[in-house]
Symmetry: C2
Subunit: 732 residues, 2 copies
């Protein structure tokens, strides 16, 4: 590796893992509280691990099967990149490993946070946040570490001089891109399964506990209460972690592939373009670690102080990255250095705007959520109509932000020459890398949320005083705000990453065409170009990927439809799993009246098992939809249809995800707003309406909405994986 | 006009209007019932006309303003087709006229249907259905009549030899295409305004009447009851009529324009291709009239008999058209006659499949709606989650049907040569014409619904016996099934028509480019083609309308976003207008306790006025969004961005419309299913949940869903209208 800047990446990856270990050890050294607290913590921990074991079992099965299929395709029919079976398994394994570490940490940390909250708010914040940082740093450390290892390995194993130095690098980068397919598939399982688990438990616990039996939230008499707490971990920690592990790796790898393609004629510049995204990610890790240390607060901190303290860490990291990226890119000597740098900044700013707009749509400090709350006075119907309306309107800002971000990043990176499509799309990928460069710390503030939430649950169930609960509530409520921002980053980065992946798809198609002996492309009017030298536009013309090709249009329609059908499946899955939970809780109350009197302990494990079973069964079909659609569409409608499918899925999936997440978040906060005393406060007509709205929104915001991000990316990367089959066997 | 087949069109148009007049006179000759029935009928009639007057006032203002703008653009800056100010005003005027006639008929017919139901079910069916046929025949008669007049006029006024005979016909057809913009805009006002009016009244009447005061539906003590009945007319009669008037004209005109473009080099064949869609529409009118006469039933008819009788009429028309179109096309001697014929059949079959799939998703005879009803036992939250899930899953079949229809129509019409883009897209437009060829009778069965519904309301309010109410209920429930099919046709045809309009957009762009002196297009690799001879693919390449152009992608995102924001606006509008209605009904009950005791008459007019005001105020913003977006996107992102916007809006808007319509319809029927005795029947927990679900679904299925059809078409035709501005002034 003759590009010294590259070596910052392994250093950053190793440092991330070292600090993750340090924070983990530090967390473990804290007091885990009373025997009761430990006992409850252990329940949640056991439940979470039981769920993970079950999920990993199914994954093992699916991954083994698919690896064999990929192996046969690669070695028997030579329709597949021969590396794929291995990169596929590795991607899945490390994604699962990141989730496992995050979950271990979160479940151990929540009791300790609750214990610390007995005496000190700043201590509790530090424990919770640094435990969240373990997850953040593990994700970026493992992600970047893997990329480094595979990159070096591929450089070593693909013989030099293969198809010319420039094409060799395209081959290497598109090969390690397949690493993403395992990560995506595991993310899909983690997000959908975790999302179904958490909401089935939540809805089940609420419907019977709060609505039917009138016992408060987190009451230990509710048999589903442990499952509810487990759900926060499997959905928000393991699910979110796997999701962003995938986005993080995907954006870096897509940028590498597009960089390699953009400078295919000049190996020296090409290497710089490939190293740039890796180096930007590395500097992001280093500065995220510094940011984590900036998050601290004083004893009598208000909610505002807490938020300021978190924001200080995140904003400082972002500002330092803006400066650090400039230095790095200058050192690297990449061409159009300021254009590339501007793309990085565009990505960061876009992420912040999307996050802010999510906050505006869902926080009770602003008009939309307050409007929903006020409509609660007319009953559940008007409250739900208002939430649907707010959610739909809230799609405007994120789309405008991401749209502007795409155009600007393209414009900057192409040196203001819009016909330079390859350079421009490289810029879009770089913007995604920029947006995710602070992931180490933004993910920390995400993973922090469920830890604080669980700490509150633990405090309630252990019967700690109201003061302790007030402290954990302050931390929890802060978590909701940071989670909104985190979701904004997840959604925004997914859109950019998916676009970059779709562009990379063409590079893979190029390789497949060359492999199959098609060295020339016919462009109409008797014009031909060499496949190896063809521009992206040439490929668009060759495959007629224009908007009036019916295959493209039908692809667009199918993409929009898949987004809706996928959401329908996951929403229905939550409904079905929740009904099972409702029946189980009712059964326990009925068969043992001692539970509600507090004299006998409910069977928590049974509820955890029911949610686990429901989640496992229900996650198969949506995952299958995501995996098979690009294959089937490719076989029937060809390359043009596939790109239509991916773009339609991206456009509709993005907008639908924002709608679902924001409507759900706004209902949740409208309920909290009413509970804080507005429109009649607790037990008023408006409050009853808002509880219904919140329940409707639960699968929207925590299952379907976030899973759509992965759907969009998984479809893109599946298309990449089966490109060889599409090129060889499509009908049209 | 040297194509004799053409003259079937004016004959058919005149016959349609003559039969409409005959059916109208026949309806008037029937007994209008007791004094009480007449009085109530008069209330509804006055309310409906008051609403229409108000809507037409606002339209007059908007149309005058826009006509001046178009005039200035056309005559001052020469950026506009000089015919536009006139075609625009005419399109709006005739669309409004069709709505006005339909409304007159519907309001007069409902009392007479109720009166006939006192003695005979077959009589009641015949009166209601033939009155619906007045609407159907007026729409197709005025639509086709207008097209004939403008076509002859343009042929007369555009001097022969203008830019060569072939290009002259392209000029003529794209000129009369602008006739659609007035029709679209008026349809938008009618659909959105009518949709807001009807649902504000419905939700308001239900929330205070049924839920708070416990009085039954259609009870004359409810002050909003007249407004509710008025709403059925302004939403389902005038709104639906204007919508389909626009689809009908749009599909024919787009097919003419694409036919002219496909045969630009051969004026004789060109004329045949232009006349074909007009002639198919004409034969459709003649056979629809025959179909209307086939709808009759016997005295002791069951629900099944009624449905069979309606289906007989519709199916017979469809089958006769399949045969008639073959004869006609052979007479015309159009090239690839069987391919074109197959496209017509494809359109008809696609419409039927989409209609059936709507029925499957929303009828209580099938699993999805029964599933929703069963989830009502868990309360409103699980019922609503189930409905959202069902609605989302129900998008699959219509998308697959329309997607297959597009591919097949394109394939047949292109003579199985997919590179013949112009011929293929002409086939898609012909398929839309085929789907709408039976409009005379399908619209009759749509407009029949609100007549039967209002007849039931009249029977209830006039205190007619239970037997009479049972008869009108049978007619009403039949109306719900046919309305589902009708919505399927409206949605399916909108998708095909929008696609055809987008293709026509390119033809308009061609004319604008030629006008602006750009006689050659540069296609890259040093290749150029003559603008006048360029294929659609050449234009796609010239404007880089490929899926990797960031302008296209951002356009796709914006299109998806506009569909959601538009729906959010209309949903919110219903919520706001409903709250005003709730307050008014509560106020009347509070200030005059005699109303609920039945001793004093409520103030119906005030409720009508409130809904009218609400609808008028709230329809401005969504209409503005639809009109301005294509202009702004054109100025910023150019032709590629506009096509992206239109395609994104089409894909997402179509899927979203199906979701909203089906979820709303399924909730409605789940409620009726529970009321018929399942899951505890009326007043059970499940029933209360289903009333909430129905209320949530009301704006989905009757305001936002159907309005999306028009949004998609209005954006396309606005893009066509401002093509000159886009070509001359876009930034990118």
């Amino acid at each position: 590796m003759n590009e010294p800047v590259f070596w910052i990446a392994p250093i950053a990856a190793v440092l991330a893992l070292i600090y993750a270990r340090t924070f983990f050890k530090a967390m473990l050294s804290h007091d885990a509280g009373t025997a009761r607290m430990r006992e409850i913590g252990e329940h949640v921990r056991q439940g979470s691990m039981a769920y993970l074991r079950q999920q990993y079992k199914i994954m093992l099965l699916v991954f083994t099967l698919l690896a064999i299929v990929f192996g046969v395709l690669a070695y028997q029919f030579e329709l597949q990149n021969p590396w794929l079976p291995f990169t596929f398994v590795f991607g899945g394994f490390f994604s699962a490993l990141a989730g496992y570490f995050g979950m271990q940490t979160a479940t151990l940390a929540s009791t300790r946070t609750a214990a610390a909250a007995r005496t000190s708010l700043p201590d509790a914040l530090r424990i919770a946040f640094r435990s969240g940082a373990v997850m953040g740093l593990v994700v970026v450390g493992l992600g970047l570490g893997n990329i480094v290892v595979w990159f070096l390995l591929a450089n070593l194993l693909v013989p030099e001089g293969t198809a010319g130095e420039g094409v060799r690098m395209v081959l290497i980068t598109t090969t390690i891109l397949t690493f993403g397919v395992g990560a995506s598939l595991q993310a899909m399982f983690a997000r959908v399964g975790g999302g179904i688990f958490t909401k089935a438990a939540d809805v089940g616990a609420d419907l019977v506990g709060k609505v039917e039996s009138g016992i408060p939230e987190d009451d230990p008499r509710n048999p589903a209460v442990i499952a509810d707490n487990v759900g926060d971990n499997v959905g928000d920690v393991a699910g979110m972690g796997a999701d962003l592990f995938e986005s993080y790796c995907g954006s870096i790898l897509a940028a590498c592939a597009l960089g390699a393609a953009a400078y295919v004629t000049d190996p020296t510049l090409q290497m710089k373009a490939v190293v740039a995204p890796i180096a930007i990610a590395a500097i992001g890790i280093l500065l995220s670690i510094i940011g984590v240390f900036l998050v601290r607060t004083k004893e009598d901190a208000t909610q505002k102080d807490l938020l300021a303290s978190l924001s200080r860490g995140i904003n400082a990291s972002a500002l330092m990255i803006i400066a650090g990226a400039a230095v790095l890119l200058l050192l690297l000597g990449i061409p159009n250095v300021w254009g590339i740098w501007a793309a990085v900044v565009t990505g960061l700013v876009t992420g912040i705007i999307v996050g802010r707009s999510t906050e505006y749509a869902t926080s009770a400090s602003y008009r939309p959520t307050r409007h929903i709350a006020s409509q609660g006075e007319g009953g559940p119907a008007t409250l739900i109509i208002a939430g649907v309306g707010v959610g739909m309107l809230s799609t405007a800002l994120p789309v405008l932000a991401v749209g502007t971000g795409i155009i600007l990043a393209y414009w900057f990176a192409s040196g203001f020459d819009l016909t330079q499509m390859n350079l421009g799309l490289y810029g879009v990928a770089i913007a995604a890398v920029g947006m995710l460069s602070t992931l180490g710390i933004t993910l920390a503030s995400d993973a922090y949320g469920p830890i604080a939430d669980n700490a509150g649950g633990n405090a309630e169930m252990s019967g700690l005083g109201a003061e302790v609960r007030a402290r954990t509530d302050a931390l929890d409520s802060l978590g909701n705000t940071t989670a909104a921002t985190g979701k904004g980053f997840a959604i925004g980065s997914a859109a950019l990453t998916a676009l970059a992946l779709i562009a990379s798809y063409i590079e893979v198609i190029r390789i497949e065409l060359v492999k199959s002996g098609q060295t020339m492309l016919t462009l109409g009017h008797g014009m031909t170009v060499e496949t190896a030298q063809a521009t992206l536009t040439d490929f668009m013309i060759f495959f007629n990927v224009t908007l009036l090709n019916p295959a493209v249009l039908v692809g667009l329609l199918l993409g929009a439809m898949v987004a809706f059908v996928f959401s329908g499946m996951t929403v229905q899955a939550v409904g079905r799993a929740a009904i099972l939970m409702v029946e189980e809780v009712r059964r326990q109350f009925r068969e043992d009246p001692g539970i509600l009197q507090g004299t006998s302990q409910p069977n928590y494990e049974r509820c955890v098992a029911i949610s686990t079973m429901g989640a496992q069964r229900e996650m198969i079909l949506p995952a299958l939809l995501a995996v098979t659609t690009p294959v089937v569409v490719g076989l029937v409608l060809g390359v043009a249809g596939v790109i239509g499918l991916l773009m339609g899925g991206l456009a509709s999936g993005f907008v639908l995800a924002v709608f679902l997440s924001n409507a759900g978040g706004a209902w949740d906060n409208a309920k909290k707003y009413i509970e804080s005393g507005y429109h009649g406060g607790k037990s008023s007509r408006a409050h009853r309406a808002s509880v219904i709205g919140d329940t409707v929104g639960d699968p929207f915001k925590d299952t379907s909405g976030p899973s759509l991000n992965i759907l969009v990316k998984l479809m893109s990367i599946m298309a990449i994986v089966v490109a060889g089959v599409t090129v060889s066997y499509s009908l049209i």
